[in-house]
Structure formats: structure tokens, C-alpha cells
């Protein structure tokens, strides 16, 4: 039996730090900033929270900060309540959000906090990209590969099977960087010419440097209550329409499993199918007003268009070519600038997306506001594409 989230949970406060090289802020400093923003909007203090979930994917680059719920308690003064650390690769943030919802749905909790943080820039980017694959993982499996490579094998296959070109991936990056100009929390806020993106150095063929997200520090947070209590906290609340978390394989298995086709993401397809059913969405392109999707590397966004049913299988290249996912298109994707512009502090990204959608549904997204936004979708995929988190939010 699946739990129906629809219209039962409300976001009453959301916060987000600048996503940047936050050399001046520690892991805890960033959490304090994001959480207190969310508290302020919800009209609560740390003493009002009765359950919390902390999302951090990797702790080896941040002096082990984030390894347990304690690392949220200390910087935010959140004491005497259950706090759980959630780690599920790039879906960590969405996963923490899901657990917070379940705490409310079960009746165990009344006012909960979902917070995510990742401190990546206390060491050089090269070390974060390569080191995890060398220092902390199996002595043979996937050896030689970086994070980019894990996704690149999908891009290569998509190109072969559907005739997608490297330029199509670059168009995704170009669009997202154009969007990012208007986002005050984004790490990169400049438009990058197509030619510069196409000619940027190769990282992991067919993914080049400007089709890759940077390494970034950041934190984001959301305060949630049951829908019936929402008005007591914030009249300008947002409702959860659906939340799905799918783990369809493992860390090594996808690469060694003869059943894998590498031209799409099975975890995202299944999550979309279930989430649309829960939210009652039949025609995603027309019913969804904006989507924040995982663009850690630009090809991922293009493939995800297909898996989320924004277009047919193999037609992601047309979806981007025709400009349908731009701010002016019929389904703006990554209006925040996406991970390409914001960066990807892994544990924070999922909640940053929820923060972004919340602001649009509240009509408070300023310059980048998507007009009449009523339904928004937040998507993360990670752990070589075996984990998808999908959250659909709606205006009340």
C-alpha cells in the first residue's frame, strides 16, 4: 500500500543560503542561516520543532560534519528531539523531505524540519571529483571513473541510439546559465555563449566542462506541518501533491547488469509514473508549470525530459531545440539556473529545489517568477542513476 501524500502536508517556511564557494561559512554556519530563514517565515524557533531530518551525502570533505543528526542539533540549537541524518547520494535532500512528511503523516510529529547541507569547497574541486572514486571505494570496480563518467555512459548511449548530439547537451547548459543570471543565490550568474560551452575542455566524453556543475557549498531548509495546521503558521503555504523515492539498482550493479540499456533512467521513469498517479497528473507538459530537474551534467536533463514524459523517448533533443524548457517555453525547466548555475552541494540541492518551487508557487520568485505557477516538480537522480527522488508541489 502506498501512502497518499496529496494535499496533506504543507511547507510553511523555506530557506536557502547563497550557493557558492562559501569560504567564510562553516557547515554549521550555513545550516544556521538556511534553517533560521525557514523558521522566520514559519513563525517558529528551534524550540518549536519536534522532529528533524538532516541531509548530507558526503562527509569526508567536511571534517565528517553531517555524519549524524547531531550535526544539525549543534549549529541550530535543536535539542531533545529525534534528528536523523539521511544520505542517499543526490537524492538525499528529497529523501530527508520525504521522511519529514512521513513523520507528520504518521502522527508522530507536528512541526518538522528538513534541512540539507554540503561543504565541498574546504578542499580543491579536483579532489572532490576524483578522490571519492579512488580513496574510498572498491579497489577495482568503476576504477578510473569520476562522477561525470557515471553519467557520461548514458549520454554516449543516448547519442548512439537517438542521434542526440553534443550540441544538444550544450543547449541545456546554455539555457540553464541564461536562467541563472536572475537567481541571487546561484554560484554562476552569467550568460555563457553556446560557442564557449561547445568548445570547453572535455571532462568525461561526451560531457565537457561547461556541461558540468561546479563544486559548491550550500544549505537549504524547509519547515513542514500538516495541511490543516498550515494557516496557523503561514498563510502563504504550499502543498505537497506527491513524493516518490525509488531505488532501482545499486552503486556497481547498473554497470554490470546486462539488462541495463543506459539510454534512460529506470528509477526516474518509475518515480514519475507513481508520482503523477498520486498527484492526479495525466498530461505533465500541460499540467506542470515549472520543473527543477537534476542537471548535474547537462545530458542528464535532456534524458530526464523523456523519462518525466515531457516528450517521447528519443525526442529530448527536439524539446531543447524548440526552446520548450526555457523561461518563455511551455514548461520552464531549471528556472533557477539548475545545478549548472547554482552548483550542487549534494545534500542541499534537493531542498534548494523545493525552496525554488515554493517561491514560484507563492508568487515570490521576483525577476525569475514563472507566471501563474500552480504546480511545480522537483527531481533528483543519483548514485549512478539508481536513485530518484520526485516531489510535486502545488499552490493551495
Amino acid at each position: 500500500m502506498s501512502v497518499d501524500f496529496k494535499d496533506k502536508i504543507a511547507i510553511v517556511g523555506a530557506g536557502c543560503t547563497r550557493f557558492a564557494e562559501n569560504f567564510g561559512m562553516s557547515y554549521g554556519d550555513m545550516l544556521a542561516e538556511a534553517c533560521f530563514q525557514a523558521f522566520e517565515e514559519a513563525g517558529v524557533g528551534p524550540e518549536d520543532i519536534d522532529g528533524a531530518w538532516l541531509s548530507t551525502a558526503f562527509v569526508d570533505g567536511s571534517a565528517m560534519k553531517g555524519r549524524s543528526g547531531m550535526d544539525l542539533a549543534e549549529p541550530v540549537a535543536l535539542f531533545d528531539i529525534p534528528i536523523t541524518r539521511v544520505s542517499n547520494f543526490c537524492a538525499s535532500g528529497g529523501n530527508a523531505f520525504r521522511e519529514a512528511c512521513l513523520g507528520l503523516l504518521s502522527g508522530v510529529n507536528d512541526v518538522v524540519l528538513a534541512a540539507g547541507a554540503e561543504k565541498q569547497r574546504d578542499r580543491p574541486p579536483q579532489k572532490s571529483l576524483v578522490k571519492m572514486m579512488v580513496v574510498a571505494q572498491h579497489q577495482f570496480l568503476q576504477k578510473g571513473e569520476t562522477a561525470a563518467g557515471q553519467f557520461a555512459v548514458y549520454a554516449t548511449r543516448h547519442m548512439e541510439k537517438y542521434g542526440t548530439k553534443l550540441e544538444h547537451f550544450c543547449m541545456v547548459s546554455h539555457k540553464n546559465h541564461t536562467h541563472g543570471v536572475k537567481n541571487p543565490i546561484a554560484q554562476y550568474r552569467q550568460e555563457i555563449p553556446m560557442e564557449t560551452i561547445v568548445n570547453s575542455p572535455m571532462v568525461a566524453y561526451p560531457i565537457n566542462l561547461l556541461c558540468s556543475c561546479p563544486t559548491t557549498d550550500g544549505a537549504a531548509a524547509a519547515v513542514l506541518v500538516r495541511a490543516e495546521d498550515a494557516k496557523n503558521f503561514n498563510k502563504d503555504y504550499v502543498l505537497v501533491k506527491a513524493q516518490e523515492l525509488i531505488v532501482n539498482s545499486g552503486w556497481d550493479l547498473p554497470f554490470f547488469d546486462p539488462r541495463y540499456d543506459f539510454s534512460h533512467f529506470p528509477s526516474t521513469r518509475l518515480a514519475a509514473q507513481r508520482a503523477y498517479q498520486m498527484a492526479g497528473i495525466k498530461d505533465p507538459v500541460n499540467e506542470i508549470d515549472l520543473a527543477e530537474v537534476h542537471d548535474c551534467f547537462a545530458p542528464v536533463e535532456l534524458i530526464v525530459y523523456e523519462d518525466l514524459g515531457f516528450c517521447k523517448e528519443g525526442e529530448g533533443k527536439h524539446f531543447i531545440e524548440e526552446g520548450r524548457s526555457t523561461a518563455e517555453g511551455d514548461l520552464p525547466v531549471n528556472i533557477s539556473g539548475g545545478l549548472e548555475s547554482c552548483g550542487h552541494p549534494v545534500g542541499a540541492s534537493g531542498i534548494r529545489m523545493i525552496y525554488e518551487i515554493t517561491r514560484h508557487l507563492q508568487g515570490k520568485a521576483e525577476e525569475r517568477q514563472v507566471k501563474n505557477a500552480k504546480i511545480g516538480l522537483a527531481h533528483n537522480i543519483g548514485g549512478p542513476c539508481a536513485i530518484t527522488s520526485l516531489t510535486i508541489l502545488g499552490a493551495p
Binding site: Q126, L129, V130, M133, V134, V135, A136, Q137, H138, Q139, F140, L141, Q142, K143, G144, E145, T146, A148, G149, A152, V153, Y154, A155, T156, R157, E160, P201, M202, V203, A204, Y205, P206, I207, S249, D252, L253, F255, F256, D257, P258, R259, F262
Partner: protein, 470 residues
């Protein structure tokens, strides 16, 4: 009848020319080239490659012994032969022995194997001779002369191709080349003295004495396979006995592969056997701290023996390294980007069926084949149903990426998802592929063992795929 039942040589893909070395050091001219092991090759991996070229499948696995001869074993303490026997899936009861320290060790290992079978202790043995990274100091006189290569010879009492007629061993203490226990580079002193009083004197004695011992005349041999430190010394020795350079003498390959150390006499044997007919006699002699001389006779089995891949084709599949600097990188002459790799000796041990032996797991319940160390079948979800099966080492690239930021002496590092011919999928690095442009989905590849890294100061060997070059 006891003797050689199969043989194979292996040469690495890469070559360095004498001209490139001279250019790097500001010297004119330079003739010939040498075979150079890729950065992920060592004497153990090249030895395995030779073993696969000698025999396959059951042929390897039933060998009752593995003797490994090398002056460049990756280990000073620990048997390379035991690790190779494990990778080749020999029985744990197979006898393993490393024989080294001398350029003579290849023939010494062969003779030891034949005599062990002759003594009745064993029915079969595999002899692998391999040297990789036997180097003189960069810029030195012999830098262009010493290459990397390997050969494997199977020995037994059934289906014998070359019957050992007789042998003569000669030990002689004369300092020609040496390395002390902690030396990285090979040392030598005078040039002329060891040529005259070493090679010429010792080889004349050894070959002369086997002729005396057996009563054969020099003209009785169809092929004469004699190792040599340099072409001129070789020519002089052949002239001394009147061996016909056009018909009898096997070219010592010195400007082609370079001297391949302990492997050299056995590598030379492989081209020498092309065109050999039943009844032909072959003289094989090594040089190092004396000499081993072996006299063989080709049996009737030789006429039916089909060698799939000839030596000329092996020689032809080559590529000149793009620069001398890159060569120095391959040989770890200077420090490159260091990576502190993770490993665990207990994990290496418990996962050796999958990751060292390339045995797949086939689900007894549903037939799904895994190449991972799993207990529960991802397809039918039943527990503990995987049984080991041998996988093919040929496959096709299903998808790939090329990593430009992963530290490597020759970026990019290509990683490929490979579907093996008779089932099973692996994901591994591609090697022997200096042109990233040739990698395509659907390209045929061969799976081979290479060194990935040295976590825990221990060489880590695992599978890589490589292009099937025409």
C-alpha cells in the same frame, strides 16, 4: 616422449625507436626499436598474456605446475607464479615456483619443468618467462637495446611437439650485467671484455660441448635459436660454428623487440618454429651467468599443429609511443600525480573468483549471469544460487566514456561497458588505446589482465579491455 606441447609469445603494443631516444638526448642517428610495456603492464601481466597465447581454457587450468622466470618480478618476497596460477584458475595443488636473477632463468625454468615431468612427479607444467622494466639508466648506452616481452611454453608427456633430445648446462662466473638487491637500473662495466671473454667464450664452450655430447654436427639443426647481448656478437658466434644465417639462424630480434631479458630465448623460439617439419632438430641456447643449451626434435604431431596467430602478426600490431617523455612516464622514471588508492587484503581474497579469475556467477534458478560478488540474484531474487562459470574474454562495447581528469600517464582513461560473447557484462578500463577516437559503441574488444594501482604497496591486477587490432 617428454617436451614442449604448446607455446606462445607476447609483445606489448608499444615501441620506442632508438632515434627517439637519441633525439631526446641530443644525439644523432639511431637504428631499430624496442618493445615497451604499457604503463599498466609488468612482468606478471605480460606473462599472463603469453600464457593465454600459449593455451586457453582447460589447457591452462589443467597445468600441474606454473614456473615463472623473470628478473623483474613485481615482488622480492611473494611468488608471482602463485598469483598467476590463481588468476589462471589452476588447481591449488599445482606446483608454483619463481626462477629469476639471470637472463638464463627462462631456459632454466623450461629445463626444470621438463625434468620434473621426466622424473614422473608431474604430467604437465606451464613455463612463463617474462621481463618488463629491465632498464638501464635513462640516456645510457643500452637504453635502446632492452625491451619488454614474454613467452609461455607448455610441457608434458602427451601430444609433444618438440621432444627434448639432450641438454648441456654451463655455469660461469663472469660479470657482464648485474643489479644489486636494491638497484633499479641494470649496471655494466666494460663493453669489449664481456663480449669477448663472456659471451663468445662461454657460448662457444656450451654449444661446442653439446655438439660433442650428442655427436650432432652444426648442419644437423634446422633452426638455431641463440640469445645474444648484441647483434655483432651473435653474428660472430654463428659464423664460428658455420650455421647458415639464411636457413638455420633465427634472427635475434634485437633491433625489433630489443633484448627481452629472461624471456628472450623463448620468444625467439616462437618465430623459429614457423615452418618446422617433423624430424627437424632445433638448438636453443640462453646466455647469462653461463648458458643452458637444449636440443629438441620436432615430432610427427607438429604437422597437425595449427597455430592460430603467427609471430609476424604479433610483431605487426604495434604503435610507436608518441614521445620519449611519455615513455619515461610509462616506466615511472619521474613522479606523477599520486593517488592514495583504497584497498583491503581481505576483500581481495574473498572476491578473487569474480575479480581476479574472471569467473562469472550463473544463477541456477534463472540463468542470469553476474560479474559482481553477489549472493542474491538481481533477476529472480533467490539467494545463494550463483555457481561459477568461465566467461569468454571477447566482447563488444555497449557504451563508454573517456575520463580526462582521472590521473593517468596517458589520458583520457577510457571506461567501457562490455558485453562478453557468451554472456556476462563487465565495466572496466580500456588499455592499449592511445587514440580515443577509435572507441565506438559496438567495437569488438578483448579482455586482458592489467595492473590498476598499488594500494597498500601491493600491485592490484584486474581486467581491462583492449581493442582487437587487425
Amino acid at each position: 616422449m617428454i617436451g614442449i606441447t604448446a607455446y606462445g609469445a607476447y609483445l606489448p603494443r608499444y615501441r620506442l625507436t632508438a632515434k627517439m631516444i637519441n633525439e631526446a638526448w641530443g644525439r644523432p642517428g639511431g637504428r631499430g626499436e624496442k618493445a615497451v610495456g604499457y604503463f599498466d603492464e609488468d612482468s606478471l601481466t605480460m606473462g599472463l598474456s603469453a600464457a593465454y597465447r600459449c593455451l586457453s581454457g582447460d589447457g591452462i587450468e589443467k597445468a600441474e605446475a606454473l614456473y615463472f622466470a623473470s628478473t623483474t618480478s613485481p615482488f622480492k618476497e611473494k611468488l608471482a607464479s602463485t598469483e598467476m596460477a590463481m588468476i589462471l584458475n589452476l588447481s591449488p595443488e599445482a606446483r608454483t615456483l619463481d626462477i629469476g636473477y639471470s637472463l638464463r632463468s627462462g631456459t632454466s625454468a623450461l629445463l626444470t619443468a621438463i625434468e620434473t615431468v621426466k622424473a614422473g612427479s608431474l604430467d604437465s607444467a606451464m613455463v612463463v618467462a617474462s621481463d618488463c622494466g629491465r632498464l638501464e639508466v635513462p640516456g645510457g648506452f643500452n637504453e635502446a637495446a632492452w625491451g619488454d616481452g614474454a613467452a609461455a611454453v607448455a610441457v608434458g608427456r602427451e601430444n609433444v611437439l618438440l621432444n627434448l633430445l639432450d641438454h648441456y648446462c654451463y655455469s660461469d662466473e663472469l660479470t657482464h650485467f648485474w643489479r644489486r638487491a636494491d638497484d633499479h637500473y641494470v649496471k655494466s662495466e666494460d663493453v669489449r671484455f664481456p663480449q669477448v671473454m663472456g659471451y663468445a667464450r662461454i657460448m662457444e664452450t656450451a654449444i661446442g660441448n653439446i655438439l660433442k655430447k650428442t655427436g650432432y654436427k652444426p648442419t644437423d639443426f634446422a633452426k638455431v635459436v641463440v640469445d645474444a647481448p648484441d647483434p655483432r656478437s651473435h653474428q660472430a658466434l654463428m659464423r664460428k660454428f658455420g650455421f647458415d644465417p639464411k636457413i638455420q639462424v633465427q634472427d635475434p630480434l634485437l633491433g625489433v623487440t630489443g633484448s627481452l631479458g629472461a624471456a628472450h630465448p623463448l620468444v625467439m623460439l616462437v618465430p623459429a618454429l614457423q615452418g618446422v617439419k617433423p624430424g627437424d632438430k632445433i638448438l636453443l641456447a640462453s646466455y647469462g651467468d653461463g648458458s643452458d643449451v637444449l636440443a629438441f626434435e620436432a615430432t610427427d604431431a607438429f604437422s597437425a599443429f595449427q597455430k592460430g596467430d603467427d609471430f609476424n602478426a604479433l610483431l605487426g600490431r604495434k604503435e610507436v609511443i608518441s614521445s620519449y617523455t611519455k615513455y619515461l612516464g610509462f616506466k615511472k622514471t619521474f613522479e606523477t600525480e599520486f593517488q592514495d588508492y583504497y584497498s583491503s587484503i581481505s576483500a581481495l581474497f574473498r572476491e578473487r573468483d569474480r575479480f581476479s579469475r574472471l569467473l562469472g556467477g550463473k544463477c541456477k534458478n534463472c540463468g542470469y549471469i553476474t560479474t559482481l560478488a553477489l549472493r542474491v540474484c538481481p533477476s529472480c531474487r533467490k539467494k545463494d544460487q550463483f555457481e561459477n562459470i568461465r566467461l569468454t574474454r571477447r566482447g563488444v562495447v555497449f557504451t563508454f566514456t573517456q575520463e580526462w581528469y582521472f590521473p593517468s600517464p596517458e589520458p583520457p582513461t577510457t571506461l567501457a561497458v562490455v558485453d562478453l560473447e557468451r554472456g556476462g557484462r563487465i565495466y572496466c578500463q580500456m588499455t592499449d588505446c592511445s587514440d580515443p577516437g577509435i572507441v565506438k559503441i559496438g567495437m569488438p574488444v578483448e579482455v586482458t589482465v592489467r595492473k590498476y594501482h598499488e594500494a597498500l604497496d601491493l600491485p592490484h591486477y584486474y581486467w581491462k579491455c583492449k581493442p582487437v587490432y587487425a
